[in-house]
């Protein structure tokens, strides 16, 4: 199989940052050979998927306002196919984590990520999501979301410009285009063992009630 180079309109392949990671992934995929027909079908499916990635509305703090600006008229992200933002994680393709994640929000983020269906992607927008950002040495801030969920693209900035966010989304599109869809991405989530003992609730509340 020849080396596949994902093509994005209007930006040549050489001008993108971080091509080495992509080439390493392509080399990994090429080790498991596939036939021409499935390869072409993969290309078609990936073209459809990469041009229609719908994200979850998840914005915790300042980077959320830049996320809203990307959706507004001037830097429209509907031009790329990210037409709507889905409100429920079960209907979303990717989660764009824009903003700081604190200790209190970490279980919520993990639950949202678990509720998303495969194939799913995570984009860390802004310094806070990459590493804790300005609040790195706080007692209540998680230093980077890659401690709890796997991240696909990192977009640095505080906050990143809307064009920088669009550039990050185009990087994600390139990653989607090289994936092996049939038999690849779908089967990679580890399944956790479900315990056999049932969970018993013993502490029913017994206090008095106050009706409003």
């Amino acid at each position: 199989m020849e080396i596949k180079r994902p093509k994005i309109k209007s930006i040549p392949y050489e001008e993108f940052k971080d091509n080495d990671t992509l080439e390493a992934m392509i080399a990994q995929i090429n080790k498991e050979r596939t036939n021409v027909l499935l390869g072409k079908l993969d290309d078609l499916i990936n073209w459809g998927r990469s041009n229609s990635l719908w994200s979850l509305t998840f914005a915790t703090s300042c980077c959320g306002i830049e996320f809203m600006s990307v959706g507004a008229a001037r830097y429209d992200f509907a031009r790329f196919g990210f037409e709507v933002t889905r409100n429920s994680p079960r209907q979303a393709d990717l989660i764009m984590c824009a903003g700081t994640i604190t200790h209190k929000m970490a279980p919520v983020l993990k639950r949202l990520y678990d509720q998303m269906a495969e194939p799913k992607y995570v984009v860390a927008v802004g310094g806070c999501a990459i590493s804790g950002g300005p609040f790195k040495d706080s007692y209540h801030v998680l230093n980077g979301i890659d401690k709890i969920i796997p991240v696909d693209v990192y977009i640095p900035g505080c906050p990143p410009r809307p064009e920088a966010i669009l550039y990050g989304m185009m990087q994600l599109q390139r990653k989607v285009k090289i994936e092996k869809f049939l038999g690849g991405k779908n089967a990679h989530q580890n399944r956790k063992e479900i315990p056999d003992e049932p969970i018993i609730v013993t502490n029913y509340p017994t206090g008095e009630d106050k009706k409003e």
Binding site: T60, I65, E66, A73, N87, V108, R111, V141
Partner: protein, 524 residues
């Protein structure tokens, strides 16, 4: 408004003293600052104001008990003290006797320790990142004084939300909560019976971090509190530090700061209008509001280099001078915006559907607004003249003329109208200043290491959502001993349960959008 004289009162006479203050007319409790004075004990400073005569008082109380510190509550005198005292309990562990619901406000309820105490143990093993949700809170925690008046006991007797009602959660991840806020509702049918608001999902511990940073290193945090009034927040902190040091600023700096503040105010009100339109379903309004906002962001980016987090004011002036075509661009923008406001009225505000959904919905009376301390557009829509630019003028506000917009209805429609009319007033202020910016230095020389003299200082400005204040207690070092920001959104959240009584869920969304809070400002 700077150096504060705090009167300390003994613990036994504290409650009577506070009742006397209230009868004297001090009806606005601006903030309760929890303090850990080390050897001298734990305590709090209460900053009160009379809304008619504008007189200020600061009262302090302290106790040397470190294991179980107790102070009588004032939450029946000023309604906002309910949430302020929960915050002080969360950060310092001080128990307020007589408070009827003393739970933690910002941290998880299985958190160990009280972070803002000076002997807090910040190790990772004590409070690791837990991936399970906190145990559900079912009960209010009330503290009663026993007969011997010495010890108070927790009496967990009243449920927060009643079981026969249908309990749902809105948030924390929700498109309509403007950030991460968790509404825990009890419904009966479609009507809301009780709202329990749980915040703290974006609590970043800024106040604790500021205690170990130098004064110039604190300024970048202020931009990120209420990011839509970034300039005003930095203005408050810079003003406080400059007055404490006795620095005189040049006129050019004051003009530039006033113009930038007003541009930021227009930007934030446009965003409030856009988000309110989006929440009610009119996405076209959102797109139009953001289109105008981009023009302001272009102007600000050319001068400051940032669109949202601007990093512009520094101690002694501004970071860089304004560019040559700043004045021309601002004038073009102001002329354009005056025509566009009429479009907003045609499209959204006079629309019959919006009027039916918002007139008479979510009424906040004037007495409640003062008791809750709900300043900003919300307070002015209820008839309370609370604009800091008129009460304690700063920068160039005493030299320009502008009206303070007041409405008396106090419903959601009035709150939106107040903000749209304030955009026109801000344009009026900018037009008076933009052609007369005097020449001069944009920054005054300061020492490389800034140390404030000993004492307590405070300053407030009119942020876009209310009165934003900062309180600094300094012991002469290059970092503050205690720094507290007065959140503009916490009084609005405190008032929410009263405003939202017996409204339907659709009205709850309208009320939330019209109150216009920004969650990182509440949680700091």
């Amino acid at each position: 408004m700077t150096e504060m004289e705090v009167k300390f009162i003994e613990l036994d006479e504290f409650r009577n003293a506070m009742q006397r203050e209230r009868e004297r007319g001090m009806d606005f409790l601006r903030e309760i600052v929890g303090m850990d004075w080390g050897e001298e004990g734990l305590g709090a400073i209460y900053i009160l104001e009379n809304s008619n005569t504008r007189e200020n008082t600061e009262i302090g109380v302290r106790t040397t008990e470190r294991e179980k510190p107790q102070i009588p509550t004032v939450s029946d005198i000023w309604q906002v003290a309910e949430l302020y005292e929960r915050e002080v309990f969360d950060f310092f562990g001080i128990e307020f006797t007589g408070h009827h619901d003393l739970r933690r406000l910002f941290l998880r309820n299985d958190w160990v320790g009280h972070p803002l105490r000076k002997d807090y143990d910040a190790s990772e093993t004590l409070n690791p990142v837990r991936l399970e949700s906190e145990p559900a809170e079912e009960f209010q925690r009330e503290y009663d004084i026993q007969d011997d008046k010495e010890m108070a006991k927790i009496v967990e007797k009243l449920k927060i939300l009643h079981y026969d009602q249908f309990i749902i959660n809105i948030g924390p991840q929700h498109p309509a909560t403007h950030g991460v806020l968790h509404f825990h509702l009890a419904l009966e049918g479609e009507e809301v019976r009780k709202v329990d608001i749980r915040c703290g999902y974006i609590h970043r511990g800024i106040e604790k971090m500021c205690e170990s940073r130098t004064y110039p290193q604190i300024l970048p945090f202020c931009d990120r509190l209420d990011y839509l009034s970034a300039h005003q927040n930095r203005h408050a902190v810079c003003m406080c530090i400059e007055k404490a040091l006795g620095l005189e600023l040049t006129d050019r700096t004051q003009y530039i700061r006033t113009i930038m503040d007003e541009l930021q105010r227009i930007d934030s009100h446009l965003l409030m209008y856009s988000c309110m339109a989006m929440d009610m379903g009119a996405i076209t309004g959102f797109i139009y509001g953001f289109r105008e906002r981009e023009k302001i962001l272009d102007i600000m980016e050319e001068v400051t280099g940032g669109r949202l987090i601007q990093n512009y004011y520094v101690i002694g002036g501004v970071q860089a001078d304004i560019t040559a075509n700043f004045a021309r661009k601002v004038k073009e923008y102001c002329n354009d915006q005056k025509m566009r406001i009429k479009e907003y009225y045609d499209l959204f505000v006079n629309n019959v559907i919006f009027r039916n959904r918002s007139i008479g919905v979510g009424v906040l009376t004037r007495e409640d607004a003062i008791s809750f301390g709900a300043t900003g557009g919300t307070g002015r829509a209820s008839g309370w003249a609370c604009d800091v630019r008129k009460r304690y003028p700063y920068a160039m506000y005493d030299k320009v003329e502008f009206k303070e917009i007041l409405h008396t209805d106090g419903d959601c429609y009035a709150r939106l109208l107040v903000r749209l009319e304030e955009i026109l007033e801000s344009i009026h202020i900018i037009e008076q200043l933009i052609d007369n910016i005097p020449e001069g230095e944009y920054k005054v020389k300061t020492k490389p290491i800034i140390k404030l003299p000993e004492g307590r200082f405070s300053a407030s400005v009119e942020g876009t959502r209310g009165e934003f204040g900062v309180f600094i207690e300094s012991h002469g070092d290059k970092s503050p001993y205690r720094l507290k920001f007065r959140p503009t959104g916490l009084p609005l959240i405190a008032a929410a349960h009263k405003i939202m009584k017996r409204c339907k869920i659709a009205d709850l969304i309208t009320i939330g959008a019209s109150l216009d809070y920004v969650i990182p400002d509440i949680d700091r």
